[in-house]
Amino acid sequence: MPDESQLYSESHLIDEEPYYRQIGNEVNIFEAAHQAKLPLMLKGPTGCGKTRFVEYMAYRLQLPIITVACHEDLFASDLIGRYLLKHEETVWLDGPLTRAVRMGAICYLDEIVEARKDTTVVIHPLTDNRRMLSIDKKGEYIQAHPNFMIVISYNPGYQSVLKDLKQSTRQRFVSLKFNYPEPLKEAEIVAHEGMVDLDTASRLVTLAGKIRNIREHGLTEGASTRLLIYAAQLITRGIPGSEACRHAVCLPLTDDTRVLETLHDLIDDIF
């Protein structure tokens, strides 16, 4: 009978292959880093496929994946684990990082820069040659499973200078740079995920290209591939193209009426 940890591991396996369109050599680099037991940092704007890539690689390598969305109130105990009360007894419950270390999963820390720096340093022993996690409360040192891998994601552009990854953290990772795919590939992705025809997907991608031209001229970020997929999904369900774009692409990007007007003009041109 499978034990709890095995069950847990299986529950984090991805059953169905996630759709992912390779852009460059990222798959080979990921596999090589995993084989070399090196941690990986994915850099790129929001909604360009970083998380999807990690899921795809988890499926491809047949590894469970545990995702942690980092935020300001994330403590070390949230990652490592804590004691809980159970029937008058205290029971240790592993945190997501500890579970990943034990079972040999990919631990994906999304938007690592949002976490407090005193929390981030917890991963340092796992990202160098020690590959070890120390659980002070239990007095336990866990050697990482051979299959264990840490992957972090990070958006370097448009960041405030007050928030940045420390060099002591950055320099522990092999890095992959992500960006929005080139138009043809992006259209294929949008067509597949949004279940629209290629022509509609191409128009959405054209719109995104125009919007990305005014990044930093009124917009903090360009339109992500994710937003295009949302728009495509609305179109599939009968929403007219221009309206779908307004709600799924423009309004999430900005509240500035002047910039919105420009975005609406672009939509009117394309749809």
Binding site: F75, V161, N213, E216, G218, R258, D269
Partner: protein, 890 residues
């Protein structure tokens, strides 16, 4: 003795008093021929002698006046002149001289109504003081000389209304100076009814004139006649209820005033939508095209353009009407601007000028016809591409084009075949049966259309259009000759050029001749390369210079010429010998406060030149031209908005620190862990408190401003230079930073040569933005060159000393580094190296470049996420605080 001799003898009497005057008068009178009577001359001499007896210049003015009037007006008029001048002379020679001078033009018109107003107005003004006469009369004279009689009458009415009030001395001076300037500044097509409203205001209360004139500058001038009257009705009602509110209403300083003006406004001036259009252009094309008014086109171009031009471009700017008021609603007028931009942008998106223009059109016997054919085929190609990429744009804009084209049809009758080719191919207009039946049009038309359809494949380039011109010109040339109108000028065959809808067409001549400096550079470079056996097209070079704002690299040359042809040639050396050297300017006069030596990176040696650059720290001498205060006033709404936004950047007064060893209250999550750890037999942590701490932002920023000579160039369509706009941005930035409380300093730099880099302190870190700092900002003026590396190194040296947690250097400039022996690759490499040095000290750098289009070389210089480009410098005051806020938000 004949009549002439009598006249000569009479005039000679004058020579006793003033021989030169007599000669001038004789000369003038001789030109009038027989129209000069003896009595008139006697009158001239008598009155002139009288005038000379009072004051020399008065006499001269009288003589000049009579000399002008004699022979062109009747004796009654001369008598009137004599009486009025004598009357004026009784109040002193100054008044007399002015009346003698300016009455002439009034009398020549023979308009009694105007004369009556002139007398009334001058009498009123004279009663206030002779100092009130000069500028108004100069203004009146300029109007009359331009033939604007009605305007002149209204102007005199305005003067009468104004000076009939009880006015203090300073008020009289103010009106005498301001009214002519403002009146002449009104748009001639609106001047009369706008002045009627001004008169109405002044009649109500002369103190309302100032706020009203302010309001006119800010936007009331764009209201239609009815709308302006409506606005004033509302304003006066408000004024009667509450004077202060009324004044603010007229000056467009109150929210109600602004809203009312915006609601009533139908005509849209370009400046109100410029930012919007520029943003659209950047989004659509990805290149830094910006818009300008048609009136800002250099005269050398407007001469070549049809009078009715509505949109055109020269590769850097798209020129649009100064204002559009053709439609009934404001939205429709704004939409018209957008439609014009959408269409014009297509030429850049689909590369309509990407062909070898050198002598292309000149090879055709009828260049105008060739240009029209290129227009037709190019517009057709654009239409097909737009339909594919932007069906919405075609759906919205093309009906307007078609309607306009049909309206212009009858102005295009002499080129019927060409017109219908344009209508059918470029606009997809269906051909009428009448046209189909017309033998003149039928055969040629069909032949060209078939050729077009046959050649059209996939996504054609501009070569498609130029090749079609070559193929179809012979056909159309015959047709044009057979339709020739003998009366049409200048084209030899008599062909009259096509007038497309809104004159929307590619203007290759404008595009290729707009930047003569690039033309010269391209020519020089082409010759240099040709001398080394490399053949490149001048158009290709010029196009690259246009795209790169005058910058061209060795990679560009390799790309244009083709790799194989370049071989081992030292392209950098060719470029340096071809392109112009920097100017050598005088040094500024103030003595250096302190001197520093800095190293410089030599990219060829791949090493530093130590102690190579001498930098002198100087303090900007103060000026009191009130720039700072005026900027605060002018940008008051923006500053208010900025202050509110920057208040949000201030950290929350208290931040919550969790899991602290002491604090104000328990952290319940930590408390749970405490209990559980204890129960588990572990040593619980003592970090079970929440502490509230006053949050401090610990940011220090140094704003480093390029003061090079190029910042004296004017921003588009204004009298403001790039430096003026930068100064405004500095003022707003200072105000914003005072709110958020970050430590900041401002410095400028310029210089000539490696021994003459000047670094000017405007505000030190430990100074507040006091009067002295404001005066220093007031005093900023363009200097010389831009040796960026040394300035950046010195700035980082200042920032290094600060203990702040976050240190930020913002560089504000208008182009690339450039100095004596500091150019191109070398300058970029050294600047880049200086920036790397700064970053290695944990100082963040962000560069803002204004007034040029985005350029990949800027990415190379600053890194693609560490700089912003603001193509239209006038957006800088708005954008700078926003950029800073985005960089330093928590």
């Amino acid at each position: 003795m004949n009549a002439n001799n009598c006249q000569e003898n009479t005039v000679e009497t004058l020579a006793v008093a003033d021989p030169e005057l007599a000669e001038r008068v004789s000369h003038k009178l001789m030109k009038k021929g027989g129209a000069v009577s003896q009595q008139a001359i006697e009158l001239l001499v008598r009155e002139t002698l009288w005038g000379l007896s009072l004051e020399f210049s008065f006499g001269q003015a009288i003589a000049g006046g009579y000399a002008d009037l004699i022979g062109e007006t009747n004796s009654e008029c001369l008598q009137t002149y004599a009486e009025l001048v004598r009357e004026a002379g009784r109040h002193g020679p100054t008044v007399g001289r002015m009346i003698a001078t300016y009455l002439v033009t009034v009398l020549k018109l023979g308009n009694n109504h105007l004369l009556g107003r002139f007398i009334q107005a001058t009498t009123l003004m004279r009663a206030k003081g002779s100092y009130t006469l000069k500028e108004p009369l100069e203004g009146l004279d300029s109007l009359l000389k331009k033939g604007e009689v009605e305007s002149a009458a209204v102007f005199l009415g305005l003067l009468m209304d104004t000076f009939s009030h009880e006015l203090t001395y300073s008020r009289c001076q103010y009106f005498a100076s301001v009214l002519p300037k403002k009146f002449l500044g009104f748009d001639p097509s609106r001047r009369i009814w706008q002045t009627q409203q001004l008169r109405r205001i002044i009649r109500e209360d002369q103190r309302l004139a100032d706020p009203f004139l302010d309001g006119m500058e800010k936007g009331l001038k764009f209201l239609s006649q009815d709308a302006l009257e409506n606005f004033i009705d509302r304003g006066l009602k408000k004024y009667h209820r509450n004077r202060r509110a009324g004044i603010r209403f007229f000056a467009l300083e109150s929210g109600t005033g602004l809203t009312t003006c915006q609601e009533l406004q139908v005509t849209v001036p370009l400046f109100q939508v410029r930012q919007q259009l520029n943003r659209y252009l950047l989004a659509r094309t990805g290149i830094g095209l910006t818009v300008r008014t048609l009136s800002s086109l250099p005269k050398s171009f407007t001469e070549t353009l049809p009078k009715s031009s509505v949109v055109c471009s020269d590769g850097t700017f798209i020129y649009l009407p100064d204002e559009i008021g053709d439609f009934r609603t404001k939205d429709d007028n704004v939409m018209m601007y957008k439609n014009l931009i959408r269409l014009e942008a297509a030429f850049y998106e689909f590369e309509s000028f990407d062909f070898n223009h050198d002598n292309f059109f000149a090879q055709f016997p009828d260049e105008d016809l060739a240009v029209d054919l290129y227009t037709i085929f190019e517009l057709a190609r654009i239409r097909i591409l737009l339909l594919h990429h932007y069906p919405g744009l075609v759906r919205r804009s093309y009906p307007l084009l078609r309607d306009e084209a049909l309206r212009l049809r009858y102005e295009n009758t002499m080129t019927e075949t060409v017109f219908w080719l344009y209508a059918f191919l470029a606009l997809d207009l269906p051909i009428t049966d009448a046209v189909k039946r017309s033998a003149n049009v039928q055969d040629t038309f069909q032949a060209v259309v078939q050729l077009f359809i046959g050649e059209m494949t996939g996504s054609p380039t501009v070569d498609f259009s130029t090749e079609l011109v070559l193929k179809t010109f012979p056909l159309l040339n015959q047709t044009a000759e057979s339709l020739a109108d003998d009366h049409t000028p200048a084209t030899g065959s008599g062909y009259r050029p096509l007038i497309p809808a809104f004159n929307w067409r590619p203007w290759p001549h404008l595009y290729f001749s707009a930047h003569p400096e690039y033309d010269r550079l391209a020519q020089k470079l082409m010759i240099e390369l040709a001398n080394r056996g490399i053949s490149v097209s001048k158009s290709d070079l010029k196009r690259r210079l246009l795209e790169r704002n005058g910058f061209i690299s060795s990679e560009d040359i390799v790309d244009i010429a083709g790799q194989n042809e370049i071989g081992h040639l030292d392209i950098e050396k060719i470029l340096e010998s071809s392109l112009s050297q920097g100017r050598d300017h005088y040094r500024s006069g103030t003595a250096a406060d302190r001197v520093f030596w800095y190293r410089e990176w030599d990219n060829k040696l791949a090493d530093y030149l130590h102690d190579h650059v001498r930098l002198s720290e100087r303090t900007v001498p103060v000026a009191t031209n009130d720039f700072y205060r005026q900027t605060l006033s002018r940008h008051y709404p923006l500053i208010r908005r900025m202050r509110r936004g920057f208040e949000l950047l201030k950290p929350e007064a208290l931040s919550i620190l969790r899991q602290w060893v002491e604090g104000d209250e328990f952290d319940y999550r930590a408390l749970l862990d405490f209990a559980l750890d204890k129960k588990a037999g572990l040593m619980p942590s003592d970090r079970i408190y929440i502490k509230r701490m006053k949050n401090q932002r610990d940011v220090a920023v140094l704003l480093l401003v390029d003061l090079s000579h190029s910042t004296s160039s004017l921003t588009s369509e204004s009298q403001a230079s790039v430096l003026d706009v930068e100064k405004e941005a500095i003022v707003i930035f200072s105000e914003a930073l005072e709110v958020v409380g970050d430590t900041f300093a401002i410095a400028g730099f310029s210089g000539t040569g490696r021994l003459g880099v000047d670094y000017y302190w405007l505000k030190y870190f430990d100074e507040t933005t006091n009067e002295t700092v404001r005066y220093r900002i007031d005093a900023l003026a363009p200097q010389r060159n831009t040796r960026m590396g040394a300035a950046i190194r010195h700035a980082s040296r200042q920032l290094e000393k600060l203990p702040a947690k976050v240190r930020l250097l913002i560089i504000l400039g208008d182009g690339f580094p450039n100095d004596v022996d500091y150019k191109r690759r070398y300058a970029i490499a050294d600047t880049r190296q200086a920036l790397l040095e700064v970053q290695s000290k944990n100082i963040y750098v962000h560069a803002i470049t204004v007034n040029i289009a985005a350029d990949p070389q800027l990415d190379e210089l600053y890194g693609n996420i560490h700089h912003s480009v603001i193509a239209d410098a006038r957006e800088l005051p708005d954008r700078l605080p926003w950029i800073y806020g985005a960089l330093t938000k928590d």
